[in-house]
Symmetry: C2
Subunit: 218 residues, 2 copies
DNA sequence: TTATCATTCTATTATTCGATAGAATGATTG
DNA sequence: CAATCATTCTATCGAATAATAGAATGATAA
């Protein structure tokens, strides 16, 4: 076994860590911020034991680390670059696998590229923000909002949407975002708000991607 | 099984494709340019049958495609982004896994960051090129050189180094590059040339990374 | 100190994956 | 059309991986 091969095997260990849906789900949740095993397990619909094992796997691959806090153990991503890695994985999959296209059209049925409802790109959002023309809406749970959010974003968790309409402007364009490109919270929110007469589009990325590119967060 | 889970499983398929040393070796060779199965098998030290199976795996994950040419089947990467993906994987592994550090210090023993021999970064090379101060040396096999190389690079395959010294300047700084960050050809060349009195350092990346960032190639 | 709680560790079992050898395919050459 | 060549496909076996349940750890709270 040459050094070259050992290097490749070590790299492969990182690749293998990305090679299971449950681990990707855990990473996606961790991209929102650190969390204890139980939270991670429940958002990924896993038993605690199983989640723990997958987290060990991720830890050995250097993708996550943990710190103690009371009797909990809080996991977090070791590195901002892991979010970029996941983003690239998505891009490569989207452009090269027909299966991805099929699944995405299921997830976001009416967002074909011709539609006026197609998601807002990062550049469009930045332009709208600096021009002061848009209101930014964060529809994630309050806990995730508090751990970090886009500048000047208003937080209305999806399940309290109807009760907090007062905080949204009727006359301005609203851009809703949530956890990431495949998160449906902002999509759902945009649909419901449109029915009520608001002008809303969803952001095509999420909070983690925004943060990972070095843009300001609050 | 929700759509979200299917998406994650599909992404995981791409991750899993990166999760085996042999497949990473195949991808690395493919990053130099398209090649038939036999070439790929021999550079990765695999039997043709085994290489073929791994290539099918990569194909299903959307990372490679093939075209016929005569009775050969030429494989290539589907996407420039795959090179960026591999680069990120490396970066994440290097910063988070102690094992990587250990292996790299074995591969490049005298290149500690304090040394004057530490590799040339992309920015340094670009500066040297535009200033016309450096000679660029490509030590890959001629075939790979002909498939694409850095602008104004001189090709001297490592195994013909001593016979072609006449093409190298004695008074200018020489920057040697090869297949990628973990390729030892340029390292080996630099060592041998230094013994002969040339001023040589190696480029910290390789041809594929140069090309993938959109820099000009010949 | 004991009890409790979050988490990890340790089998166990079922499933998937990787390597090999040999047959099958399918394009090209004589 | 037969022979050859590059590659893929199929079947098999051994190795690695994933899920589960239950025991063990180790920090905190009573």
């Amino acid at each position: 076994m040459t050094v070259q091969q050992s290097l490749q095997d070590t790299l492969a260990q990182v690749g293998r860590a990305l090679g299971h849906g449950h681990r990707l789900a855990l990473l996606e949740r961790l991209a929102q911020g650190e969390a204890p095993v139980e939270t991670l397990a429940s958002t990924a619909s896993l038993t605690v034991g199983n989640a723990s094992q997958h987290l060990q796997h991720l830890r050995r691959a250097g993708l996550v680390t943990a710190r103690r806090s009371g009797k909990q153990r809080l996991y977090r991503l070791t590195d901002e670059r892991i979010i970029r890695l996941l983003g690239l994985l998505r891009q490569v999959a989207e452009t090269n696998l027909a299966e991805m296209e099929r699944l995405l059209s299921q997830l976001f049925p009416e967002e074909d590229p011709q539609s006026a409802l197609k998601p807002v790109t990062r550049d469009e959002l930045l332009a709208g923000l600096s021009g002061g023309e848009v209101t930014v809406l964060d529809v994630r749970p309050e806990k995730e909002y508090l751990a970090g959010h886009l500048p000047e974003a208003i937080n209305i968790p999806l399940d309290r949407l109807e009760g907090m309409l007062g905080r949204l402007p009727r006359d301005r364009e609203i851009v809703a975002y949530c956890r990431g490109p495949y998160c449906v919270l902002s999509h759902e929110a945009a649909q419901r708000l449109r029915q009520l007469g608001y002008r809303v589009r969803r952001f095509e990325e999420g909070y983690p991607e925004w943060k990972a590119t070095g843009l300001p967060v609050a």
